[in-house]
């Protein structure tokens, strides 16, 4: 199954409410057949710009990152669900690509292309 990353920005709430929201989100993921690999807290920060969502103007948010494996067909339904959730400010699902380690160096790029 392909690997996805959910960058979740939640409303700035108290700890028990944030925990409840996260629990709800992960349970939704698991219900749809996703396997959650890792959940990271990137901290609570001031948002880079004011975001209006669910008739509320947010200036602070809690950033979370969820790594999961899922089938591609659940993504539209999942995003729809997350957009409807009142506590979620901005959900974004990205595909996670494994980085290419050896050919990352650009110093060796084009060596075979140069005519000496």
């Amino acid at each position: 199954m392909p690997r996805y990353e959910l960058a979740l920005i939640l409303k700035a709430m108290q700890r028990p409410e944030t925990a409840a929201t996260l629990r709800r989100t992960v349970e939704t993921l698991m219900e749809r057949g996703a396997v959650v690999r890792h959940l990271e807290n990137l901290g609570e920060r001031v948002l880079p710009y004011k975001i209006t969502k669910h008739n509320e103007r947010h200036s602070r948010g809690a950033y979370f990152l969820v790594d999961f494996y899922a089938a591609p067909d659940i993504l539209p339904g999942l995003l729809n669900h997350l957009h409807r959730d009142v506590d979620v400010v901005r959900p974004t699902v990205l595909k996670k690509d494994d980085p290419v380690p050896s050919s990352n160096c650009c110093a060796n790029y084009g060596k075979d292309l140069v005519y000496i």
Binding site: A7, I9, L42, L47, P48, Y49, I51, G61, Y63, L65, V89, R90, T92, L94, P99, N104, C105, C106, A107, N108, Y109, K111
Partner: protein, 128 residues
Amino acid sequence: MLSLRLLQRLNPVLSQHGNTSLRSLTSQVVQQKDDMLVKMENPYKEPQKGCVLCNVRVDFKNIQLLSQFISPHTGRIYGRHITGLCGRKQKEISKAIKKAHAMGFMSVTHKHPQFMKDPNICSIRQMA
């Protein structure tokens, strides 16, 4: 007649092919090998230097790194002639910055004040 004698004497010295009289007594075969060009790699070749982000993984979460390539006044992404990055890395940085903008990680119109004191990578002269 004298000139004939002179010519006869000068002839072996002046002859162009096989100047054996002027060479040393070592064998002719070794001399030929020393004169031939030896095939080798350029010994003065400098190691190829890559751009600043060679072997550095570019991520949309790493906004401190991404903020080093934007203008502090307007938040605009610097071009290749200013950042000095290679084609691949410039594209990666550009894509990551736009991703961060869309996802709500990085501001569009300015640079985060926390990152204003970061060292200057780009060749543009920053005013205080």
